[in-house]
């Protein structure tokens, strides 16, 4: 895809950050508002896809030297590992828990182990999505 995409590239530079910010918001909001790891991951994927479309794969890879297969693997690993974590506390596999803490800046905040699990989900989705997209487009 070698064409002169000045407009697309310029827009992408700004929009990507907006999308990524939104993705992080979605991810963190998932506990109480619409969102979550799966959607967050998908939105990140779409942001990256936009990057790959606007620039070429090589350029993006230089700026973002990440092997997304590994990202997917890390995601699955985190998900399984958090599941294992509950075994250490004598609970069945994959038990989640939550609690309320007083943090310095945020005030009273809820922290839940489910978020860690969700992080695994998000990484797995990003890794898999980008891997698929890159493999298909890399064949061009």
């Amino acid at each position: 895809m070698k064409s002169n995409d000045v407009i697309l590239q310029t827009v992408t530079k700004i929009v990507t950050f907006i999308i990524l910010t939104f993705a992080i918001y979605l991810f963190l909001a998932g506990h109480h508002e619409p969102g979550g790891g799966f959607i967050g991951g998908l939105v990140i994927t779409s942001a990256l896809t936009l990057l790959y479309l606007a620039f070429d794969i090589e350029t993006v890879r230089e700026g973002l030297p990440v092997d997304f297969k590994v990202v997917a693997a890390i995601g699955v690993f985190i998900a399984v590992a958090t599941g294992m974590g509950s075994l250490l506390f004598d609970q069945p596999f994959l038990s989640q828990t939550f609690g309320y803490f007083n943090l310095p800046i945020f005030g009273k905040t809820e922290l839940a182990t489910a978020v860690l699990f969700d992080l695994g989900v998000a990484l797995a989705v990003v890794g898999t999505g980008v891997t698929i997209i890159l493999s298909i487009s890399g064949d061009a």
Partner: protein
């Protein structure tokens, strides 16, 4: 008791770090790190001996999948501990030996030790778990570890063949075992082996008794290489020698023995169990020792010898199952189990040394190494003479006990033994003669005779000290057990016997003791006869070795296995080729037809096409408009001549569905759907160039009609299904449970709470599947490319 669980999991945990150690500590042989694991476990187990010897039992349970009743329960009694000590003890020695055997420079050590640790953990898991499903899982894991280890030098065709053979045979047995265990759990309504043993009366009267017994025996016989499933063991000798010593002689092949011993209280005492276990054991003993004599490869000889020794233990367990009458047999079985591990482990290591230092294991080339490798020679003598049943080695004691066992059995008046019983001592005696012969071949052909340097690939010399430590330790045990059998008997064998024969405990305890000398008994004369006839036959071996050539090749089990496998592959290929056309459209057709037939058929049969419009909410104008848009887009996709239009049409459908979610107030679904659509359209754009021209199918009217019928069928069926599902609430809706998500999971977003908490297990497996699918796409696209580049 957390320490115990930790101990059992250590091999798996440590396996995670092995590749790192291998990579970042290349100077130090990885084996030194690994050695810590079995040694530590061994010491821990030793500490448990006093508790168990006093009759204590340890039972613990951690819920694993509580909803299915699967708990990781461990149960330690004498039998478990005996095996635990074997696994960790021999494991430690084997790892030590492998440090010198496996070259640091040439071998992929991290793979080797990871597989080894997985095996060790799995094997410990088998003997320690009380839950049948946990046991089964570990059972199969040992098969897989064995497969990987046999195929360790996977570049060799023979290694791959042996690995595949062992996997096929042991996994078939494993599945039979699973079926048998499930039958047992149906009968007794429990997943715990301990509770099954307590319910033996229920099982004995149940009509499923015999099928369960046969299935479990099939599992045990395949694993323990019993006739006629023994054929995988000689081929498994392609594995590195430390592995042969560990898995294929000392531990894994004894898993079947363990299973039989463990289930003796359940099945024992019946005529079927007695004759099956005894008979198969005896045939294996005889056939194994007979076949061992004709081998030219030292390791093949040891493999057949292992088969025959396993048969011997199996046979003793069978005899011992008639426990009220002969209690010697179980003692002999357990004693020989340990003895076999010591002397056979030692022999395998010695053969490994010979192979390592001379470059060959062929007895036609070996000879005259006595003066060059004096220590190895001594070790070989100790191991072989023990195997042959000569004093002063532990093999003598257990062989004597074996004879006592079969002689006692011959005098029984049950299970038709009054007619057939006399066969047992006779066959046992014949088998022992062959055992004696190949034991002599092992020693004499390798070490005596003339040393011919030109027959070796390298200059023979004595092995380094480190390589000798393990066999020396085992050989000293061989002698030690001969002089002090009581220590072993009191601390390990008696508690283990109580586990195999719980009835004995109530009947007044076990009184058998092992004595070195108990007078001029029949057993002693039998041993002398074995030595005498064996020696004569050994000396005259060239004259009668022609016997082996009369064995027809075509009726051997190997031949049947090979032909069966080839035939099965051919048949499978033929069947697969008929429906795997390589055209995606055909595959979709299969899926849709299957769906229509199965779902539609069952709905017709169950008469479940119902529709109650009354329970539906009102239909708003928005919804009507959206439905119309969807219909228009779908028709467009069908009729358009351009692929781009079709892609856009499909995209429209997706976005409209997202709008439906908005109308029905499901923001999560709407968001997801929107993003998925976006990414999908991007994907379509990417592969757009690769897709072929969208030519309308030129198939005839019949082709189009068939497609029309299938698509109409799917569409109608799905609609009816959705309507019927709405109006047929089979059970109370569970959505009220999820509405409490804020109290239960601290989350106000029900959808996400379901995803990550309530149904977290589903999500975990889903992302796993997702990643596998991603890797699948990647490898489908990338791998052929790289190969093309290489050319």
């Amino acid at each position: 008791m957390l320490l115990l669980y930790f101990t059992l999991l250590v091999p798996f945990l440590f396996a995670l770090f092995v590749p790192l150690l291998y990579r970042y500590m290349p100077r130090i042989h990885t084996g030194w790190f690994v050695l810590v694991v079995p040694t530590g476990i061994f010491i821990y187990m030793i500490n448990l001996i006093p508790i168990i010897a006093k009759g204590g039992k340890l039972l613990n349970s951690i819920p694993w999948i509580p909803t299915l009743g699967i708990n990781y329960s461990t149960y330690i009694d004498g039998l478990t501990l005996l095996f635990g000590l074997l696994i960790s003890g021999i494991g430690a020695l084997v790892v030590l030996y492998s440090i010198y055997y496996m070259s640091k420079q040439r071998e992929a050590l991290h793979n080797f030790y990871v597989y080894l640790l997985i095996f060790m953990g799995a094997m410990l898991g088998i003997v320690f778990s009380d839950n049948i499903f946990v046991l089964y899982m570990f059972w199969e894991l040992t098969s897989i570890a064995s497969f990987l280890l046999i195929a360790y030098w996977y570049q060799r065709k023979q290694s791959r063949y042996g690995a595949q053979k062992s996997l096929i045979i042991t996994v078939i047995g494993g599945l039979a075992l699973l079926a048998g265990l499930i039958l047992l759990s149906i009968m007794t309504n429990t997943f715990s082996i301990r509770e099954m043993i307590e319910a033996d009366q229920v099982i004995a009267k149940h009509p499923l008794f015999l099928p369960a017994m046969l299935l479990i025996l099939l599992g045990a016989f395949t694993k323990s290489a019993q006739f006629p499933f023994h054929i995988w063991l000689p081929d498994a000798m392609e594995a590195p020698t430390p592995i042969s010593a560990y898995l294929h002689s000392a531990t894994m092949v004894k898993a079947g023995i363990y299973l039989v011993a463990r289930f003796t209280p359940v099945f024992g005492g019946t005529i079927e169990w007695f004759w099956l276990v005894t008979g198969i054991g005896m045939i294996t003993l005889l056939w194994g020792s007979f076949s061992a004599v004709k081998q030219n490869d030292l390791k093949a000889m040891l493999a057949f010898s292992t088969i025959s020794q396993l048969g011997l233990i199996m046979c003793l367990l069978g005899i011992g199952s008639a426990s009220l009458y002969v209690s010697t047999a179980i003692l002999a079985a357990l004693f020989h189990l340990i003895n076999h591990s010591t002397f056979k482990g030692c022999l395998f290591m010695v053969v490994g040394i010979v192979d390592h230092e001379t470059g060959t294991r062929d007895i036609r080339r070996l000879g005259g190494l006595m003066n060059i490798m004096p220590i190895t020679f001594t070790l070989m003598i100790i191991g072989s003479f023990s195997m042959a049943g000569l004093p002063p080695f532990n093999g003598f004691l257990s062989k004597e006990l074996f004879f006592t066992g079969v002689l006692e059995a011959a005098q029984l008046k049950i299970f038709h033994l009054e007619r057939w019983g006399i066969l047992l001592p006779i066959l046992a005696w014949i088998a022992s003669i062959f055992t004696f012969i190949y034991s002599m071949i092992l020693v004499l052909k390798t070490f005596t005779g003339k040393y011919k340097p030109n027959k070796y690939e390298k200059k023979a010399h004595e092995a380094p000290l480190g390589m000798l430590i393990s066999p020396i330790l085992l050989a000293s045990l061989v002698i030690l057990f001969f002089f002090f059998p009581t220590i072993l008997s009191n601390n390990l064998l008696q508690p283990a016997m109580k586990a195999v024969l719980p009835g004995l405990l109530e009947a007044g305890g076990v009184e058998n003791t092992i004595e070195i000398w108990h007078g001029w008994t029949t057993e002693v004369f039998m041993t002398m006869g074995v030595a005498l006839v064996g020696l004569l036959l050994y000396l005259s071996f060239p004259k009668w070795s022609g016997v082996y050539e009369y064995l027809p090749e075509k009726i051997s089990f190997n031949y049947i296995y090979d032909r069966g496998l080839a035939g099965m592959e051919k048949l499978a290929a033929k069947i697969t080729k008929t429906y795997m056309t390589g055209i995606v459209r055909d595959y979709l057709l299969y899926i849709f037809i299957f769906f229509v037939v199965v779902v539609g058929g069952s709905m017709v049969l169950l008469n479940s096409f119902t529709y109650y419009p009354a329970s539906n909410g009102p239909i708003s104008a928005y919804e009507v408009v959206l439905v119309l848009v969807i219909i228009a887009a779908a028709v467009l996709v069908m009729l358009t001549k351009s692929r781009l239009t079709a892609v856009i049409g499909v995209g429209v459908i997706g976005f409209v569905v997202a709008m439906f979610f908005v109308i029905f107030r499901a923001p999560d679904l709407a968001l997801t759907q929107l993003v998925v659509e976006t990414v999908t359209v991007a994907l379509f754009l990417l592969c757009f160039y690769h897709l072929p021209e969208l030519g309308r199918e030129t198939g005839g009217a019949g082709f189009r009609a068939a497609n029309l019928i299938v698509s109409l069928g799917v569409g109608v069926l799905v609609t009816l299904l959705a309507l019927a599902a709405q109006s047929n609430p089979l059970a109370e809706p569970i959505s009220t449970f999820f509405e409490n998500s804020y109290q239960l999971a601290g989350a106000r977003n029900i959808v996400n709470a379901i995803l990550v908490d309530f149904r977290g297990f589903d999500t975990m497996l889903e992302i796993l599947v997702l990643s596998i699918a991603g890797l699948g796409v990647y490898s489908l696209i990338k791998l052929p490319l790289t190969r093309r580049d290489n050319k």
